[in-house]
């Protein structure tokens, strides 16, 4: 054994009635550490603002999953069986979420994902929910935007083959784009890279030679920042489109002098979808001065307040009751928009299109779910 016995007893002895425990499993070390860190910032902020529910104190139990699946599974097992949490939040990266999902399901503890956009996360798991939209929706939104608003006839795709997020988005973008343009050859180039790559010059040179009307390049802001910057350096002037992960300070700092950068995201400060958006923006700036608001922080924030909302609605801290309340979520006012959870537990909500203007993210339009 690993000295677990003692800890378990301790957990059991705690006056569980006075606190409600929310477990968080996020990658705080390893390859996904940056994403995990941003998400946890949002969660902690929400916890500071809303430390209580139903008259009980909410306690966060944050565990690192090291960006590894076996650690993620251990982390969730620990949260459910040792820390005895009432509800779980996590995790950045769908792969890590899927490692934890079945364990929570079996233990009957609901989980709310912040940013795992792979449809498989919630498929067949009625205890997994999420506040983000899933890849098919986002991909379709961007294809619509490219064709209808930008008048694109051809597109090139640059995807991160190692990222389910990127591959998924590209896939749905491709399908919709072909349908909308009525042209099976509308995608003139589809090139790949791997997470962690920093040199995209050869992919971009290939794309440049095909001269597409738009480029769709969903992926991490890390790689994409460099990619977009490089594209402009190489003299590629076609609009470049991406997904919600781009809403990050790091991305902006790379692309602030460039034009025609569009992406879908969850909220915009100037066009607040909800009251909560404003509140989040203000508080975030206060809590983390010098850091720019980002989608992951906002999504982390939303998972927490959604969890609290569900507990309130359930009127109890019983995980089963919380699950039922979560499943019934409708028109929840989150920082990232008005969230309704569908039968799969996935969020349907308005997507916002943003654009880079004068070194800032600017509101461009919005797309409501159909």
């Amino acid at each position: 054994g690993c000295g677990g016995g003692g800890a378990e007893k301790q957990a059991a002895q705690q006056p569980a009635a006075d606190v409600i425990k929310i477990g968080v499993f996020e990658p705080l070390t390893g390859t996904n550490a940056a994403g995990g860190e941003m998400t946890v910032e949002g969660i902690k902020l929400a916890n500071q603002l809303f430390p209580e529910v139903n008259g009980k104190k909410v306690e966060l139990v944050i565990v690192d999953n090291k960006s590894e699946k076996q650690e993620a599974a251990n982390a969730v097992e620990r949260l459910v069986s040792k820390d005895k949490v009432n509800v779980i939040i996590g995790s950045y990266s769908s792969s890590l979420s899927m490692a934890g999902g079945p364990i929570a399901k079996e233990a009957g503890i609901p989980v709310i994902g912040c940013s795992p956009t792979n449809p498989a996360v919630t498929l067949g798991n009625d205890y997994y929910f999420r506040v983000c939209f899933i890849d098919p929706f986002q991909g379709t939104v961007m294809a619509n935007y490219a064709v209808e608003k930008l008048g694109a006839k051809t597109a090139a795709i640059i995807q991160d083959v190692q990222q389910d997020y990127s591959v998924g988005l590209s896939n749905y973008f491709e399908k919709s784009f072909k349908k909308l343009t009525n042209n099976d050859n509308a995608i003139v180039a589809k090139v790949n890279y791997n997470s962690g790559d920093k040199d995209f010059s050869s992919q971009l040179t290939t794309v440049k030679a095909k001269n597409p009307d738009v480029i769709f390049a969903p992926g991490n802001f890390l790689e994409c920042g460099i990619l977009v910057e490089k594209a402009r350096e190489l003299g590629i002037n076609a609009p470049i489109l991406g997904g919600d992960t781009w809403e990050a300070e790091e991305f902006l700092s790379r692309v602030k002098n460039t034009k025609d950068i569009y992406f879908s995201t969850h909220f915009d400060a100037d066009h607040p979808v909800t009251e909560m958006s404003n509140k989040f923006m203000e508080e975030y700036k206060k809590a983390y001065p010098g850091k720019q608001v980002n989608a992951f922080g906002a999504l982390g924030f939303d998972t927490y307040i959604l969890a609290l909302d569900a507990i309130k609605r359930a009127g109890s801290a019983d995980p089963k009751a919380i699950r039922d309340a979560l499943a019934a979520t409708k028109d929840f006012q989150g920082a990232t928009g008005i969230i309704t959870l569908d039968a799969n537990g996935d969020a349907t909500k308005t997507a916002i299109i943003k654009k880079v203007v004068d070194g800032k993210f600017a509101y461009e339009g919005k797309v409501d779910p159909k």
């Binding site: 550490a33 860190e37 589809k190 920093k198 040179t205 003299g235």
Partner: protein, 297 residues
């Protein structure tokens, strides 16, 4: 492939290849002396990048001063690592030293995460050294010219040092037999420290150039160039300094042209690096320019 695309790819290849080569030289140098795959080398790139970053942004030093500072700090760190983590293991099996190197690497990365956070930072590009050059339809950064120049200068300097100077010969002697070298009045510790100063200094230059080229730095930024440049060093024949240079260029050019010629295979780019590596090793089991050390029976 159009001529313009070819030229553009050539420029891309030179800029990537020379960067690989620059870092690979540092790897190969330390390997050549200690027969140690210095995993921490990759993390020294990261340390250099952060020191330069903080020097420029927080202490608002001129870029050249903070680069210099980064090189000095990294060199000192490299020497310290050798002293603490490798020196006590001189007599131990080589694999223990390797594990020690991995341990140092983990430590530096995670200390980075704990101390400065995992979120990447944007590395400033001083306008004096980084600007965009356009030649007709081809465009590239000034770094595409600067990095190969630096690489060649350092290559020549290091080659000269190792082959022609007394310290260099002592380094090669030490690489095979500490004890006998000490019987020649060679202060082994000093020679090894010198090696680490030079090797870590090279890592620092590599780290800074890498950050200028791909201006985003995070605590794990060394892992990727670390692996690629190690592959390059092996490809050229690990221990051989011109080999590292060659390996770096072969790898950089190869990767760029693979994607340019066969875009469908771009996802296999990293696999490709290994495929050419393995292919080369099958024909030259010690790399392109590696010394063929046959054990005399």
């Amino acid at each position: 492939m159009t001529g313009e695309m070819f030229l553009q790819s050539l420029a891309n290849g030179i800029s990537l290849g020379s960067l690989y080569a620059l870092i690979a030289i540092g790897y190969t140098m330390v390997y050549g002396i200690l027969r140690l795959i210095n995993f921490a080398h990759a993390d020294l790139l990261m340390v250099a990048a952060y020191v330069a970053f903080y020097g420029m942004l927080v202490f608002t030093m001129p870029w050249w001063l903070s680069f210099l500072l980064a090189i000095v700090v990294t060199a000192l760190l490299g020497v310290t690592i050798e002293k603490v983590a490798y020196r006590p293991l001189r007599e131990a099996p080589r694999i223990s030293v390797l594990i020690s190197a991995i341990g140092v690497s983990f430590l530096l990365e995670n200390l980075g995460i704990v101390a400065i956070g995992a979120r990447p930072k944007s590395f400033p590009r001083p306008e004096e050294i980084v600007w965009n050059i356009k030649l007709g339809d081809i465009s590239f950064l000034s770094l595409t010219i600067i990095i190969p120049l630096i690489t060649i200068v350092l290559l020549v300097a290091v080659t000269y040092m190792v082959n022609k100077t007394k310290t260099g010969i002592a380094m090669r002697a030490v690489s095979r037999d500490f004890e006998t070298a000490s019987l020649m009045a060679v202060d082994v510790n000093k020679v090894v420290s010198t090696t680490f100063v030079v090797g870590s200094g090279l890592a620092a230059v590599g780290g800074i150039m890498w950050s200028l080229q791909y201006p985003q730095i995070d605590p794990l930024m060394g892992v990727f160039p670390g692996l690629k440049c190690f592959i390059a060093a092996v490809m050229g024949g690990i221990g051989s300094i011109p080999g590292a240079m060659l390996g770096g260029f072969v790898l950089g050019m190869g990767e760029v042209f693979l994607v340019a010629l066969l875009p469908e295979l771009s996802g296999y780019r990293d696999a490709f690096a290994f495929v050419i590596l393995i292919f080369i090793l099958l024909f030259k089991p010690t790399g392109i320019l590696g010394e063929n050390v046959v054990e005399k029976v």
